[in-house]
Symmetry: C2
């Protein structure tokens, strides 16, 4: 079907095809273009642009691309790599999270000359190409961005990996950019905890960058999501990383900066998160490390409003719901865990939150015999601490606690 026939149909397919076309017409992050689409709707926006009836400024932004149409090819290319286009009209659209960007763009001046530069403008995406089995809105509901330098140190990677792992264990989604260094360590930490993680890319989801992270991206797309504003095939141009960064801040409840060099992008990242009303968290490091200088600059800057975090518990305390996600108090209240045997406690601690695992796997993680695991599992199930998913054992929702129920977003 041609684009014009498809649009004439008017249904959900028309909307999706219109937004696919729009996502290639103008670089994402362009305030005036987003406003035009927002005011007339995506189908009408495409029609007006292609018929030469759009305002001058919009026609100038689109240029010769008004006559081209790769939308059907893009949608098919996405399908071939297991991806789909998620649009604001879908249930899956992370409307709650992205509302902050909608608010922020409404505060930008009408006058183009005084608007924020496109690389920094707070403007919502027109559509998102996503690859992976998870639902986008569910994955970002309890999510934290963990970002930092590509030229990270062993210390930074260790901390990012631990944070990723512990956040994953507690059912928080780790969002990052899939880059070398801190990003990759955070994603890997989450994956090691059998948790879904989300990589926001600055290129097509069919050709994630860097290529050396092919295996990592493959693993992310198996349980989590690869997300991009750019259609399949798009290259990771330099400026696209800056445009992309606003999405990392916008999709999450807060951003943790793990390592950053002096005068690096860390300040800009923090400023964006803060402008969207999100938590800015910073991991300190040795003052002798050049890769912590940017972190310490942020913590010294009162206007940055950054909080020092030294553990996943600190992060969750900062972004979690009030009263539900506080860091462990010094004395824990009594719980069904009290009185468990040493082996039972270790088996319980070995149980994942989401995907059930075999008793053999539990024995390996808990460091005990399979027979011991089989012996304590019935008692743990009786105490409502673990449950059988049909394919494996995992923590029961009550024990998962804050991890199992949906909570209203903070901010």
């Amino acid at each position: 079907m041609t684009l014009d026939e498809d649009l004439a149909d008017g249904g959900p397919a028309a909307l999706r095809r219109a937004r696919a076309w729009l996502s290639r017409a103008v670089e994402p992050g362009t305030i005036d273009f987003w406003r035009f689409v927002d005011s007339v709707g995506p189908v009408m926006a495409v029609r007006r642009i292609r018929s030469g009836q759009a305002p001058d400024r919009i026609r100038a932004l689109v240029g010769a691309r008004a006559e081209q149409d790769e939308s059907l090819a893009d949608l098919r290319r996405a399908e071939r790599c297991g991806a789909r286009l998620v649009v604001p009209e879908d249930d899956e659209w992370p409307a709650l999270a992205l509302h902050a960007l909608t608010l922020a763009v409404s505060e930008e001046p009408q006058d183009h000359a005084n608007q924020s530069d496109r690389t920094l403008a707070p403007v919502p995406p027109l559509a998102l190409w996503v690859r992976g089995p998870a639902r986008l809105d569910e994955l970002v509901d309890r999510s934290v961005a963990v970002v930092g330098s590509r030229a990270s140190t062993a210390y930074g990677e260790h901390v990012a990996g631990e944070l990723g792992h512990q956040l994953g264990e507690r059912s928080w989604t780790v969002v990052s950019g899939g880059a070398y260094g801190i990003d990759a360590a955070a994603h890997r930490g989450a994956l090691a905890a059998d948790a879904s993680t989300l990589a926001v890319l600055a290129c097509g989801v069919d050709r994630p960058y860097p290529a050396a992270h092919g295996a990592l991206f493959h693993r992310i797309a198996e349980t989590g999501l690869l997300v991009s504003e750019w259609p399949p095939g798009c290259a990771p141009l330099r400026h696209r990383f800056l445009v992309r960064n606003r999405l990392i801040a916008g999709l999450t409840r807060g951003t943790v900066v793990v390592e950053a060099a002096a005068r690096s992008g860390a300040q800009a990242t923090a400023q964006r998160a803060r402008r969207l009303g999100r938590q800015v968290m910073v991991v300190p490091g040795p003052v002798t490390s050049a890769m912590s200088v940017g972190c310490h600059e942020l913590l010294r800057d009162a206007e940055a409003g950054a909080t020092l975090v030294a553990s996943a518990a600190h992060v969750i305390e900062a972004v979690g719901g009030i009263g539900s996600d506080l860091a462990d108090p010094p004395e824990r209240p009594s719980s069904p865990r009290d009185g468990l045997s040493d082996v039972a406690t270790r088996v319980l601690d070995a149980c994942p939150v989401r995907t059930g695992v075999s008793p053999e796997r539990l024995a390996t993680v808990a460091g005990c015999d399979v027979l011991d695991v089989l012996r304590v599992l019935p008692a743990l199930e009786l105490a409502d601490l673990v449950e059988w998913t049909g394919t494996g054992w995992r923590l029961a929702p009550a024990e998962g606690g804050t991890g199992s129920e949906r909570r209203p977003r903070a901010g």
Copy 2:
């Protein structure tokens, strides 16, 4: 001369002897005792106590010691080890610095039951036993406390040593407690920069503790000062360290905590400095280090009002006079240094601030030939950048900049 004869004399010697006696009569840090001495004066205080005419509470505090007198022996013991008693009536008394303690004690309740515990009470010293050539008031005028854990790591000792060295180079006095770990590293760093440093002890200045630091204390007493509220011969009892800590906070413009374990004394130290209106500064470290947990706790606690510092420049910016001690701006204004040859710059950088050194020493530090040093020194002297002290070369006051002139104390 007996104590009573000496007191009858009424002159400066009487004052000194009275305060020597008082310094042994009741443990320092006792609010009611300090108030009694403050209200009737030291000579009258001793007379009333010894004649049984002091208020009940004071008599109870002194007890059987009212009849003893070691004051002359203490003064002689001090003299034998090169020490002296500095009293509030002396020019050398650091009145400006200790004024904050006088203010703080005035806010304590009259009612003994509700006063702060003696180990934490903000009360000025009645007298100070000092050992070393420096003038106490001059040494503390531009001083910073550098404190931290005794069980420090190599990282903490390195940072404390660097801070001590760089503060010393810039004519700031490093004040600490002479303990193992961070304290010792800070003192040693200052000494390595040929700077005077000050150790506040919890025992007599004739038997500084720990004994293993004998050589360190000897070096401190050669150019700086050992200071104590306790008369010669007094042992370093456990509670005395806590009482002593208020003096470290009180004598300095700010306190830098370099390493501290979880729930260690760091919070108390910081709280005391803050209560006295002094800067609280904290050096971060790896979040993986148990010895930085207390530091990060302080930085996460908004009420502690602690500033993250990663360098001596940060410390000086926090405690220095406004406009005179800011950390280096990104672009330095033009100065007589501009246009110097590479060798001349290195020789200039090798010149110490206080004690002049030989051209041979300059050559070693600057890493160049003695002949080169002798060649550039006349030009540096002509440009008022260095001066000859009679025994060696050092930076001229103009170049020393903020290090050479006295400035009003901040706070």
